[in-house]
């Protein structure tokens, strides 16, 4: 990024001349992302909808990406800048790895992403905010970690689970009631799918699983073995099970105890 700033500044975000006014309803926005840790790793999932004001701009957008071998990054907010930020972030991590012959520490990667968001601050002030969520496997603690960000580049480490985007409040409520620290990988994915369905239930900008077109959330799992995107059919099976259960109880699973 520093090299680009010197040699090809036009490739970097955050240096463009701005117009004025609030553009937030004129360009596509991505919506809800959830992340949660489980023993042995961390999972990130995102719905597939992008909205432009009241219009659904895209039904099958992808918002969860591998950042490098041992981390995943996802974004909520302005889709164009979000995708650009993810690409730049991926290139930076790979570039560092090749130049130095070693990967950045997980905290190093998280800090780097902060700097990228800060570069987008002028845009954020005009409603073109990008808020990423970053999660990775930390070899020093042998477990997953989650980092959230604010539009000014503030970086905050989250414990257990977190969500960002317009439906994040509803998703976080669901995660609060369903999440347990000892969930297996598959159960953890199920909990996250449930939380995304809850988000879509109450937030018009979040897309639920599209049962007609068979468009399901993107789920990325990061463990000691690296990043793995769950195959479509595995996600489909979990979504189908959750969907069938909601025919009995549309609000989803109830908490098992009241205390």
């Amino acid at each position: 990024m520093d090299f680009l700033a010197g040699h090809a500044p036009d490739l970097l975000p955050g240096r463009r001349a701005l117009g004025s006014g609030d553009l937030s309803s004129e360009v596509p926005h991505g919506t809800t992302i959830v992340a949660a840790t489980f023993p042995g790793g961390v999972i990130m999932a995102g719905d597939r909808r992008a909205t432009m004001g009241n219009i659904i701009a895209q039904r099958d957008i992808e918002k969860v990406f591998p950042a490098d071998e041992y981390s995943a990054v996802a974004f909520a907010g302005s889709a164009g800048f979000g995708i650009e930020m993810v690409r730049l972030f991926q290139v930076e991590l790979e570039h560092y790895e090749k130049l130095e012959g070693a990967t950045l520490s997980l905290d190093g990667k998280a800090n780097r992403l902060s700097a990228l968001i800060r570069g987008n601050l002028p845009m954020a002030m005009q409603g073109l905010t990008v808020v990423p969520l970053f999660a990775g496997y930390d070899h020093d603690i042998n477990g997953g970690r989650i980092f959230s960000y604010d539009p000014t580049g503030g970086r905050y480490e989250e414990t257990h689970f977190y969500s960002v985007g317009s439906g994040s409040l509803f998703a976080r409520g669901a995660l609060k009631k369903l999440y347990r620290e000892d969930l297996s990988e598959t159960d953890c994915v199920t909990v996250m799918i449930q939380s995304l369905i809850d988000a879509a239930d109450d937030d018009s900008a979040t897309g639920g699983p599209d049962m007609l077109r068979r468009i399901f959330p993107v789920v990325g799992v990061v463990t000691a073995d690296g990043y793995r995107r769950l195959p479509e059919d595995e996600v489909a099976a979990l979504v189908d099970a959750a969907w069938a259960q909601r025919h009995q109880r549309p609000d989803g699973p109830a908490a098992t105890s009241l205390t």
Partner: protein, 283 residues
């Protein structure tokens, strides 16, 4: 004021070339060899940290001999060029030809400019394609001249002797283990005495087109190297542990090591990420 001596341009260039050649011949050799599934790089290098072979991009690698600080600068420039192109356009638009051209320009400009000394380096830019026939290996010398290489290339040290040895024993479509054995033997045949190189003296990496990951470059760790080499040890050692492995046609007569089929080691398929040569998790 004294009048400077006249030196003819021919003489000047010859002197500069001699200077560079001497510098390059001082070091140890590095080899690039095409095998069935990709390109193998073997360099004699006692340092585990200062690499002669490195990843440039998804399907491209770089190997160099000569002065470390000089070729390290070239490597960094190459990685930057490749990453910047890949980011501006697409990953598929980063090609070995473009990179080799850029290197040729740089080396040529430095060689013929009066002020600087020529770089004492020789480099290889290798790119694997979908099939062995699509592989490309470019060899660049200190003066910026560029050559398209087929099969194998040797640079640095007693390059001619090592290349002769490989030339005698190389066959197209050689296996990885066979190619590795051949390269290691060839590096030992660089003088009047034949040396037997041990894994800790070697730096080995491959561009492996069978890797499922986008990035095809992989370093082969010392432990893996040890396994492969001990399985294909020719003549002397291979005769005494004559296991009941009759399936393996033990035609271990002398230097025919490369055509004896050698089972690839178990950890060969899921290849280690380049950043950590010791773990064999997929990238």
């Amino acid at each position: 004021m004294s009048v400077p001596f006249y030196v003819s341009p021919e003489q000047l260039m010859r002197d500069r070339a001699d200077f560079a050649r001497k510098g390059i011949a001082k070091g140890r050799s590095a080899i690039a060899l095409q095998y069935a599934d990709g390109i193998l790089f073997v360099a004699e290098n006692r340092s585990p940290a200062l690499h002669k072979v490195a990843e440039i991009y998804d399907r491209m690698a770089f190997a160099a001999v000569g002065r470390y600080n000089e070729f390290e600068n070239l490597r960094i420039a190459g990685v930057r060029l490749a990453d910047m192109r890949g980011y501006s356009y697409d990953r598929r638009d980063v090609t070995g030809r473009a990179l080799a051209n850029a290197y040729a320009q740089t080396l040529g400009a430095i060689f013929s400019s009066g002020g600087e000394k020529p770089l004492e380096v020789e480099i290889l830019v290798a790119e694997i394609g979908a099939a062995p026939s699509d592989d490309q290996v470019y060899r660049l010398t200190y003066d910026g001249s560029i050559a398209d290489v087929q099969g194998y290339a040797v640079m640095g040290g007693a390059a001619d002797q090592v290349a002769d040895y490989i030339g005698e024993h190389y066959s197209e479509g050689i296996s990885l283990a066979g190619a590795l054995r051949l390269a290691v033997d060839a590096l030992g045949h660089d003088g009047t005495e034949v040396r037997q190189l041990t894994p800790d003296q070697l730096e080995v990496a491959v561009l492996d087109r069978t890797r499922t990951q986008v990035r095809k470059f992989k370093r082969i760790s010392e432990a893996t190297l040890e396994t492969i080499l001990s399985e294909s040890r020719p003549a002397e050692e291979a005769t005494e542990p004559a296991d009941a492995e009759d399936k393996k046609d033990t035609a271990d007569t002398g230097a025919s090591a490369e055509d004896t089929p050698i089972a690839p080691p178990a950890d060969d398929a899921p290849i280690a990420p380049p950043e950590d040569p010791d773990d064999n998790r997929p990238l």
